[in-house]
Structures are given as structure tokens and as C-alpha cells.
């Protein structure tokens, strides 16, 4: 009979996960996994970062304001629903409006135990490109920092980053574009938890 560990191993090998070779022997598949290793545990047991990510599961609403150089500033109300996908990932659905048009964003958040990085991909209904952000967390200050590369005003790819300060059921996130002396603040998002 297969146990949960073996099922996990099957899926891991099927889709490119990582698991100790010892748990993938034919004997394991026939009789269920029984051996443990540090390597296997490291990949299968959710990391503290995973646990923290899943605390964001719920519904959020708030306001975003933007002010790009040489362009009119604006603001829009927003809502976001975040759900868990197993113990390792969260999937976000974000809704707002820009210029009177509906906006929907999709985010997948994950933590890579191998690199110690948070990873987030983002796609939305207005942009024909997907973005990959990588970031870190500061446990003491409760500040998150993420960076990525995206198009700038002239269409060229430029560095972006954000700094997010968290409270218990609210957060503020400030976004920057460019680097060094050319960096400018372009957007602020303030959200509160609804559920």
C-alpha cells in the first residue's frame, strides 16, 4: 500500500521535484517509503517561510496610488483574494481598474528552499509579459524587499523594487523604478485584511 510519503515521491519525480534517491527505489513504490533522510525532509517539510506565506491567505482590500514622472498621478481601489496551493505556494487574484478598464492580476508565490529566496510570478490582463520577482524578508523589522526587471517609460528594461512594511492585518508597499540617482518612487499600495 502506498503511503502519503510515497505519493509525494511519485509526484515529485513526475514533475521535477527533489527527493532523496533512497525513497524512489522500486521497493519504496511497492511497500511504501520508510527511509528518511535530511535531504528528503528539507524538501518535503514546509519551511518557516512557507508557513508565513500561507498566513496571507484570505481577502484584502485597499487603495493604490501612482505618480510616474511626467504623467498624471492617480489612484484606484483594489481587492485581492489569496488562496493556498498545498503547503508550499499561494495563488493570488487581484482586481482593480485603470482608466475605467477592469484589471486582473495573477500571482504565484513560492519559497525556494534550495536558494532561500522568495519567488513570485505575476501576470495580468493588461500586460503581455510575465515578471519574476525575487526577494528577502527581514524578521526583525518586518520589512520585505523584492526586486525585478520590467519595462520603463521608453520601453527599455529597467530595475524595479519595492519595500513593504507589514502590520498585523494591514500593509503598505512602496514601489521604485530605476536605480541609483535615477531611481524614482512610482506607486504606493495600502491594503487591509477583510477576511
Amino acid at each position: 500500500m502506498f503511503d502519503a510519503r510515497t505519493i509525494t515521491a511519485l509526484v515529485l519525480v513526475a514533475f521535477g521535484g527533489a527527493v532523496a534517491a533512497s525513497s524512489l527505489s522500486p521497493a519504496t513504490f511497492q511497500h511504501g517509503a520508510s527511509q528518511e533522510s535530511d535531504t528528503e525532509d528539507a524538501f518535503q517539510r514546509p519551511a518557516p517561510e512557507h508557513v508565513e506565506m500561507l498566513k496571507a491567505v484570505g481577502e484584502w482590500e485597499g487603495l493604490l496610488t501612482w505618480s510616474f514622472p511626467g504623467m498624471p498621478s492617480g489612484e484606484s481601489r483594489a481587492t485581492e483574494t489569496i488562496r493556498a496551493l498545498g503547503p508550499y505556494h499561494t495563488v493570488a487574484s487581484f482586481q482593480s481598474q485603470f482608466g475605467g478598464a477592469p484589471y486582473e492580476g495573477l500571482g504565484v508565490m513560492s519559497f525556494d528552499p534550495a536558494t532561500g529566496e522568495l519567488m513570485n510570478t505575476w501576470s495580468d490582463s493588461m500586460t503581455p509579459a510575465t515578471l519574476l520577482m525575487r526577494g528577502t524578508l527581514d524578521d526583525e523589522s518586518r520589512v520585505g524587499r523584492l526586486s525585478w526587471v520590467a519595462r520603463g517609460p521608453d520601453g527599455a528594461l529597467v530595475p524595479h523594487r519595492n519595500v513593504t512594511t507589514h502590520g498585523k492585518d494591514a500593509y503598505e508597499s512602496i514601489f521604485y523604478m530605476g536605480e541609483g540617482a535615477d531611481e524614482v518612487e512610482v506607486m504606493t499600495i495600502s491594503m487591509k485584511r477583510v477576511k
Partner: protein, 186 residues
């Protein structure tokens, strides 16, 4: 530890707002390099699919379980796929985002599931003539050091969807998963 997820969910709005303001909508929505064929194929997949997933490894018994995948459109640019099933009494779920990326000039995707911590970042192309989408990515694999190549082939034939997953490359490549599903008609 931080609760980072909500902020991250909004991070790219800055780029989005900027892009939407700067570039005409027509530029955003259409390209001349196979973009339209790829996006048409992506949207043709929208619907509810019911079928089976088969998992196999050399020297081990193949396993099969029933799945349902719901593919939804996000605007005209992206699709999400949410696959659910029960595998030997254990719930299984996967989430896939796919779209044509105008910056990378490629079909791109993100895939994760409820059993694996790894986040697959896929890149590939849609072969309009053969009607097959080819995706490739790197991920850890059993008994190997470092990431190894993985790839998939996705075929849509009317109301039948087939996806095959492969691990390794060259003569060492093996078929690991096959998904076969029929479009659910209400």
C-alpha cells in the same frame, strides 16, 4: 517572519500602470510573430476538462488517477489552469499560468502543485502547424545533482487535450506523466 504575500501580489502594478499608460493598447494586445496564433490556441483551451493522469517511472508500476482541470482566461493574454484530483486517497492540486510574453517573444508559463515545493518557470513555443505547444524548464530530479531538463508537449484536438511530461534529455529522457482529458460539455 513577514507576511509578504499580499504586497507581492501588487508589486507588478507599477510596471503595468506604466506600460498601460505609455504603450497603445493595440501594441499590447497583438504582435506579428506568431503571437496571435499562440494566444488563439491558449484561449481555445478555456473550459472544464475531465480525464486521467498517468504517472510512470522505469522499473516501477504506472499509476493513474482521475483529474479535472478548469482553464480560465484572464483578459485575452493569459490562461490559468487549476487541476484537481485524488491520488490514492490524497488530494492533489496544481496551478498553471500560461501566456505569450512579448518581451521574451515566447510562450511562458508557471507551474506549481500541492505536493512539490519547486516552482517551475517554463518557456517554449506553440507550433501552429503541428498544433503542439512545447514547454521546457529545469528542476531537480531524483538521484541527480542539480537541476535537470524537463519538457512538456500539449496537444489540443477539438475537445481532447493531451499533455505529456518528460524528464532528462537525449537518450536519457523518460516520459513521466501523461494527462488525457475531454472537454466537459454542459
Amino acid at each position: 517572519m513577514l507576511q509578504l504575500r499580499p504586497a507581492v501580489g501588487l508589486v507588478l502594478l507599477a510596471a503595468t500602470v506604466l506600460t498601460a499608460v505609455v504603450l497603445p493598447a493595440g501594441v499590447l494586445a497583438f504582435g506579428s510573430d506568431g503571437t496571435s496564433e499562440t494566444r488563439e490556441w491558449l484561449l481555445d483551451r478555456v473550459g472544464v476538462w475531465e480525464g486521467v493522469m498517468r504517472i510512470s517511472r522505469p522499473g516501477m508500476p504506472a499509476m493513474e488517477f482521475e483529474i479535472t482541470e478548469t482553464i480560465s482566461a484572464v483578459g485575452g493574454l493569459w490562461t490559468t489552469g487549476d487541476l484537481v484530483g485524488e491520488f490514492l486517497g490524497q488530494a492533489y492540486a496544481a496551478h498553471v499560468v500560461m501566456g505569450f510574453d512579448d518581451v521574451k517573444k515566447a510562450l511562458v508559463g508557471t507551474r506549481c502543485d500541492s505536493r512539490v515545493a519547486h516552482l517551475a518557470l517554463m518557456k517554449g513555443r506553440y507550433d501552429a502547424e503541428a498544433k503542439v505547444a512545447h514547454m521546457a524548464w529545469k528542476a531537480p530530479a531524483s538521484g541527480r545533482d542539480g537541476p535537470v531538463p524537463h519538457r512538456s508537449e500539449e496537444r489540443l484536438r477539438g475537445d481532447t487535450l493531451e499533455v505529456k511530461f518528460f524528464e532528462g534529455d537525449g537518450r536519457d529522457e523518460i516520459l513521466t506523466v501523461t494527462v488525457e482529458a475531454k472537454r466537459k460539455v454542459d
